[in-house]
Amino acid sequence: MRTPPRKFQTLAAILSAGILLFATQTAFAQSTSPPSTTATRPAKVLPDQTSVPSSGPPSTTGQTTGEATRDPTIKKMNEDEKQKVDTKGK
């Protein structure tokens, strides 16, 4: 582990304000003692996990997949992103 980071700064540099030094907003990421860690390698496949049998059809190109969300927030986020990629590409 590396030494904990010093701090982050958020820019508030505004020439027009006549304040030429940054009014830095220091976040909380100041030095603390890092917690102890134990080297470990994750399981490639998580043990003791099982799945209930699926009755879905084999995967083919012509299916309709996905589920239309009923959550209005997510629905709007999906629609906005779809519109964005259709027009902006990314």
Partner: protein
């Protein structure tokens, strides 16, 4: 990476990065190319601003206010804000360097500071699409020029002289007649009171006076910290009282937790809590997949706790996703007519009348990003405020999504951007930051969510899987008279819309409908293809399979007609012209206006001829070696690559040499261009040799670098030479980060064919060459 045993030939900028002192006309006329390499600064005149880019049409557009981006301290230190994310391209240096150049700041006295996510304040921050320099060369120059103008105005007032008599020069303003000088720091307070000049009235520097732009002599600002281990990446963030979490996510896209038993997990020392986390039905943009989170005093304990969980999953509708059967389905779809997305002439009739028809089907599997740093994020949610620390490519988008997901105002969310240990498009999706935010809100404490490599491979937004089928009809003379290209691949749009089965315009515009070949009968089709997992942007996106197919087919036609690959390629590109895409309903052009960024076959030809010249195309190679060539336009840049391969009698493949020529228009830092091309060669070779993510029972079968390898240093191309076409005065900047990848695989494949007579039509190469 260029590694040679002769120390005199070790990689050096001047040895392997060549800015060619050539005129386009000299290429077009087929004249000889200058024998020596001349480093030349790119020409950027006021005329260069006659073009437009798509920057203004991006979400939140462009901000050119110097008060937002530049600050000057009384001691003279100039701080310039980097509003794009650094993931290895050097953009955190390049954009501020443009400002420093134009404002006459001394780079050694410039401090670069990372912006947080705030697109209203900074303009669009999506660091993707190879767009940063393309969209911000002009705005950054304008910001620098504005700051310089304000400093000059302040000095003139101070001295009581006309502003025309003063000039900013290397961190000072000079009164030219008297020789008086005053430093930027001493002027800062007065300069801050000056009004910001209008963009239209700005006087920009003459390119002949550039000190930094186009020189390639400025190291990236993070170089020292990166090489000494001091750089701050996502995983380095720590907060007082930080909780550490890992999440067991549904192994099948769209699955969910049916039940779980955490009794064993809670006995793991250090584990503090186990909880189910919210997921959303798929597709749900970049929302978390849900699952079971283990919260602990450190990440190691959390991982051990997760290993001890007993979970029963409901895999949902995608549990039958199987890459073997799906590939067969893709191939079947590619053999039938699909949605016509470009039509020139009558391809059916031309194929019917052809003397010979050559058919090629090319398969490219799913690919995982596997950036060296897996996803990680820290969130601290307190009441209706949230602060995030994460390696995200889209800090503005992350801010917006965190706010919406938590149901709090966007102004209450701060997104701090760390360095990214690679991105390749994966980190433009902020699901990992949303996971941290949701857990922090639930726990009332700051939380770090760390993804393991296994998590990364299993739950990526993968590069799509595709079959590209091309039918080329030849007349008796061997001339190609018909070209039908069917592209079948699940679309990225499926990540936002249930039932999206056709590729989006931006995907079709990546090497399909923008085919530059001069063929009378040309048709592009897009049969439908359902998605069964999350599909996302991957470095170069759809250009990878398209370039692989199109450029491999050029090699196949060349072989069938007994032609040289390069000659065949130039014949297909045809005459120097602007490609007419009027038959295309939605001719997506990387978001750029076609007037500024047309498909210019003269530039395409130029990079082919340049790389052929400098790469010594046609040179005699030892037995078992072969040369392959490919060219591709992507992200509105033109790039051609020659690969030399060596295949031994057991089928072991090595790459002794790569030569690449790129025309990316006006540029800032040629050293960064070379780095991106070198990296693209390594990545391209990795993907071609080993890259495959496959599914069985809806689950990703690979887990880590042992079964999704990336090439090591001993497999990397021994030499990568890069040749940069100098821009014309009116040539707008274009992409660099991604375009190097697409031509690599087909150049490699063509080289393998030249060496062995074996045609690679499916990637990865894997064991196909073994004897």
């Amino acid at each position: 990476m260029n590694i040679r045993t002769n120390p005199n030939r070790l990689r050096g900028f001047e040895k392997h990065v060549k800015v060619e002192n050539l005129s386009r006309r000299s290429i077009l006329k087929g004249l000889g190319i200058a024998g020596s390499f001349v480093l030349a600064a790119p020409v950027m005149t006021r005329q260069a601003f006659a073009y437009e880019t798509g920057a203004g049409k991006m979400p939140h557009g462009v901000v050119v206010d110097p008060r937002v981006f530049v600050a000057i301290a009384p001691d003279g230190v100039v701080t310039i804000l980097a509003h794009r994310a650094e993931m290895g391209t050097g953009v955190r240096t390049s954009l501020p360097l443009i400002v420093a150049e134009e404002m006459e700041a001394d780079w050694s006295r410039v401090h670069v500071q990372q912006a947080h996510g705030d697109e209203v304040k900074f303009g669009n921050q999506d660091t993707d699409g190879s767009r940063s320099t393309r969209h911000y060369l002009i705005p950054m120059r304008q910001i620098g020029a504005s700051a310089r103008s304000m400093l000059e105005a302040a000095a003139a007032k101070k001295w009581g002289v006309p502003v025309t008599e003063v000039k900013a020069q290397n961190h000072e303003v000079v009164h030219t007649s008297s020789g008086r000088k005053i430093g930027f720091g001493d002027l800062a307070a007065d300069a801050a009171k000056e009004s910001v000049p209008s963009v239209e009235g700005l006087k920009l520097k003459d390119p002949k006076d550039f000190r930094y732009l186009g020189k390639g002599q400025v190291s990236i600002v993070d170089l020292h910290d990166i090489t000494t281990g001091k750089a701050h990446y996502g995983a380095d963030t720590r907060l007082p009282g930080l909780k550490y979490a890992v999440i067991a996510r549904p192994p099948v896209t769209g699955g969910k937790v049916k039940s779980f038993d955490d009794s064993a997990a809670m006995k793991v020392p250090g584990v503090e809590k186990v909880m189910e986390v919210k997921g959303w039905p798929w597709p749900s943009k970049f929302q978390p997949l849900g699952g079971v989170a283990v919260i602990a005093r450190n990440t190691g304990a959390a991982i051990k706790g997760r290993d001890a969980l007993k979970i029963v999953w409901d895999d949902g509708a995608n549990a039958k996703y199987d890459s073997v059967t799906y590939r067969a389905s893709l191939e079947e779809a590619a053999r039938k007519p699909g949605l016509i997305v470009r039509k020139e002439g009558d391809v059916d009739a031309a194929l019917k009348s052809a003397d010979k028809v050559i058919v090629g089907e090319y398969y490219l599997p799913h690919l995982a990003h596997v950036s060296m740093e897996p996803p990680v994020a820290v969130a601290d949610v307190k009441g209706d405020k949230a602060e995030i620390w994460a390696p995200v490519q889209s800090p503005g988008g992350t801010r917006e999504d965190v706010a919406k997901t938590l149901g709090i105002p966007e102004d209450n969310v701060t997104v701090n951007v760390t360095l990214l240990g690679g991105g390749f498009g994966r980190k433009s999706k902020c699901d990992f930051a949303l996971e941290a935010a949701l857990l922090s809100k639930e726990l009332g404490a700051p939380v770090k969510v760390q993804w393991t490599r296994e998590d990364d491979v299993h739950h990526d937004f993968l590069h799509t899987v595709s079959v590209e089928r091309i039918e080329a009809g030849l007349d008796k003379s061997g001339k190609v008279i018909a070209w039908r290209h069917r592209s079948v691949a699940p679309t990225i749009a499926s990540t936002f819309a249930a039932g999206a089965n056709h590729e989006a315009p931006f995907e079709l515009g990546m090497g399909l409908i923008d085919n530059p070949f001069e063929i009378a009968n040309l048709q592009c089709e897009n049969p439908e293809a359902a998605a069964f997992t999350r599909i996302g942007w991957f470095r170069s996106v759809s250009n990878i399979p398209r370039a692989f197919a199109v450029q491999s087919m050029v090699g196949e036609i060349a072989h069938a007609t007994g032609r040289d690959q390069k000659d065949m390629l130039l014949e297909l590109i045809g005459s120097p012209r602007i490609v007419n895409l009027s038959s295309v309903k939605d001719p997506w052009n990387y978001g750029e206006p076609y007037d500024s960024y047309p498909i210019d076959t003269a530039r395409l030809r130029k990079v082919v001829e340049l790389v052929a010249e400098k790469g010594e195309w046609g040179r005699t190679v030892p037995k078992g070696h072969g040369l392959g060539i490919a060219v591709h336009r992507s992200f509105v840049s033109y790039i051609a690559t020659i690969v030399e391969v060596a295949v031994d009698d057991k089928g072991k493949l090595t790459v002794p040499r790569v030569d690449t020529a790129i025309d990316c228009g006006t540029y800032v830092n040629p050293e960064r261009i070379a780095s991106q091309i070198e990296g693209a060669a390594i990545m391209g070779l990795s993907l071609a040799k080993y890259g495959e993510i496959s599914f069985k029972d809806g689950k990703v079968q690979q887990s880590n670098f042992d079964d999704f390898p990336v090439i090591r240093i001993d497999e990397s191309p021994a030499i990568t030479n890069v040749y940069i076409v100098p821009p014309g005065a009116d040539t707008p900047p274009s992409g660099v980060g991604e375009p190097g990848v697409p031509p690599f695989a087909p150049a490699l494949s063509n080289a393998i064919f030249a060496a062995t007579g074996k045609r690679i039509r499916a990637l990865p190469i894997g064991k196909q060459l073994e004897t």
